[in-house]
């Protein structure tokens, strides 16, 4: 799969609520990061909106399916619009990819619009590309935000 096709595939899995399949796109040592601060360098001594290893990311997906996950039942409907894809660097093992995300979310009568700069570090495996690291810098990460129960 080409890199752009892979990113569209990832977005499609999220927008069709195939979260378990989405999780399988990540490597075992993957990190998924939504920084709190603009230009944030560190996730261990500065809080993050999300900073998950693979185990924590899996707990998010499991919570989506729990019948008493009040903020997630019903699940939000989303559209991930991925564009401006640029391969920043690549070698035999990994590729660093930048893209732009515009996301529309709808749940319980509320519609929200998100914008973010996204970076993927993709790793070539026997099963094709996998995500080793995904960083989502929301334009409003430092804003006064209502609870977030979606995946970017």
């Amino acid at each position: 799969m080409r890199i752009d096709e892979f990113l569209y595939h990832e977005a499609r899995l999220l927008d069709t609520q195939q979260y378990e399949a989405w999780l399988e796109l990540f490597t075992e040592d993957a990190t998924y990061w939504v920084p709190l601060e603009q230009g944030q360098k560190d996730a261990l001594e500065t809080s993050s909106i999300v900073h998950d290893d693979r185990t924590l990311l899996e707990l998010r997906v499991k919570q989506f399916r729990h019948p008493r996950a009040h903020a997630r039942q019903p699940l939000a409907r989303t559209v991930h619009q991925v564009s401006n894809i640029q391969v920043i660097s690549r070698n035999d093992v990994e590729a660093q990819v930048a893209s732009t995300l515009v996301l529309v979310e709808f749940r319980n009568g509320k519609q929200r619009l998100w914008g973010a700069l996204v970076e993927h570090r993709l790793r070539r495996t026997g099963e094709g590309w996998k995500i080793a690291h995904k960083r989502i810098d929301l334009v409003n990460s430092e804003g006064e935000l209502e609870g977030i129960a979606i995946l970017f």
């Binding site: 709190l36 500065t46 993050s48 909106i49 998950d52 008493r68 997630r72 006064e144 609870g147």
Partner: protein, 430 residues
């Protein structure tokens, strides 16, 4: 009458007229927590915040005192300082360039020939909030010129701030690690009524407890994982009913209160046996003495509420300030604190804890916010008119230190105490 001993009328959450009166009589009178000394260390350091809905600047003056200034130019009303934090020599209004020094005095006015009186500047300094005081490094202010002094206002709740500071080797705390700001479509009181509620986690947080129980096991010292703190904390929220009933809950005059701690996971509460905690304990004892270290670490508290705008976790170094924006709209800022001279890993644990408990996308907080919004929608119903606050009612007991203790840890004594204070503020004239 809107407040009865064991119930409260729905309109206190839903009526915009009552909200307006609250801004004048509760937030316009009470001591409010604004922040911490470490946010304004040197002369000219400032940060902006709100007192109720009023925009204010908290600034360190040249004489070392902390001033709280209303962020509004005396000329045409623009805020003179952009939202955020930094260091300034002068606050310069963007509209006509009026400039004020760090203490709020008006220093320069362009086109000054247009004003006839040479000394008019004297009365046109930025409006200073009349009362500013700090307790153990925490900055408080009141918009009212008169009222109880801060120590009297805090009363027995001072002990929770003491707990916060006494745990730090050398007694120094600093705000660090980023600031979460989250919002919800609900009344400001709903947060304060939730933070000491030991009966809600099993229901509100059922899903995060369940997924954490199904997670891989956290590691022993030396074999730990990044996910450990999050998994451990979410599991703790599923403590058995008997634990919640036994932990103790206390209310004080002026509506403050705290809940005993429900944690038994030694990794989270820094129990014996963990090398990082042992090092921390050594440093604390070296500074404070063995006996004092022993005493300080025996205090076990979960949230403390300082009514009407603050909730903090002394043991977990988190502090939340609530900003009421409208009857059905609230914003919460959450700060983490670093204990200076404690091992670096302690602060990493604090950050991981903040992410899981107070993060805007956390497994835990998101369910609280969802419930606040559902309560707000429920209270829009004109009938039934009353909400019931009767858990433990009639069994509250006076303690020798001036607190009142609930019959069990899940008593709603703290909400009743908040409404007693609310009624005092709201019914006092003038």
């Amino acid at each position: 009458m809107l407040v009865r001993p064991d119930r409260v009328h729905r309109s206190v959450y839903a009526d915009p007229g009552i909200f307006e009166l609250e801004m004048e009589r509760v937030f316009g009178r009470a001591w409010l927590v604004l922040g911490h000394d470490s946010q304004v260390k040197g002369a000219g350091d400032y940060f902006t915040t709100r007192m109720g809905r009023e925009p204010v600047i908290v600034a360190r003056h040249d004489d070392g005192s902390v001033r709280v200034l209303v962020n509004r130019c005396m000329h045409r009303g623009s805020t003179v300082c952009a939202e955020g934090r930094g260091n300034v020599e002068r606050f310069v209004c963007p509209y006509h360039g009026w400039s004020y020094d760090r203490g709020g005095a008006l220093r320069a006015v362009p086109f000054s020939s247009g004003y006839s009186e040479k000394d008019f500047q004297k009365n046109l300094g930025l409006r200073a909030v009349p009362r500013v005081k700090s307790y153990r490094g925490f900055i408080f202010a009141s918009l009212a010129p008169d009222g109880p002094d801060l120590e009297n206002f805090l009363g027995p709740a001072k002990s929770s701030f003491d707990d916060f500071v006494d745990r730090a080797p050398g007694g120094e705390l600093e705000v660090a690690g980023g600031v979460f700001k989250h919002a919800y479509q609900g009344n400001w009181k709903l947060m304060l009524e939730n933070h000491l509620d030991g009966a809600h986690p099993a229901y509100v947080h059922a899903s995060s407890v369940a997924v954490a129980r199904g997670a891989p096991e956290p590691g022993a010292p030396g074999a730990e994982h990044y996910y450990d703190i999050a998994v451990r904390q979410m599991r703790q929220n599923g403590a058995p009913d008997a634990v919640w009933e036994a932990i103790g809950i206390w209310a004080t005059p002026y509506g403050h209160g705290w809940l005993g701690d429900y944690h038994d996971d030694k990794r989270l509460i820094g129990g014996a046996g963990h090398p990082v905690f042992e090092e921390y304990r050594r440093r604390l004892a070296a500074r404070a003495g063995e006996g004092e270290a022993e005493r300080a670490l025996r205090v076990t508290r979960w949230n403390t509420i300082v009514y009407p705008n603050c909730s903090f976790m002394s043991q977990f170094r988190q502090l939340r300030i609530i900003h009421p924006l409208a009857v059905d709209r609230s914003v919460v800022t959450t700060y983490s604190f670093r204990m200076k001279d404690a091992p670096a890993q302690m602060f990493r644990d604090t950050v991981a804890f903040a992410n899981v408990v107070n993060g805007t996308a956390s497994w835990v907080l998101t369910d609280d916010l969802e419930v606040y919004e559902r309560i707000q929608r429920g209270f829009a119903a004109g009938s039934p008119e009353w909400a019931y606050l009767g858990r433990g009612h009639g069994r509250d007991a006076d303690e020798p230190d001036g607190t009142r203790r609930g019959a069990t840890g899940t008593s709603e004594i703290f909400i009743r105490a908040q409404f007693r204070a609310w009624l005092d503020y709201m019914s006092a004239e003038g």
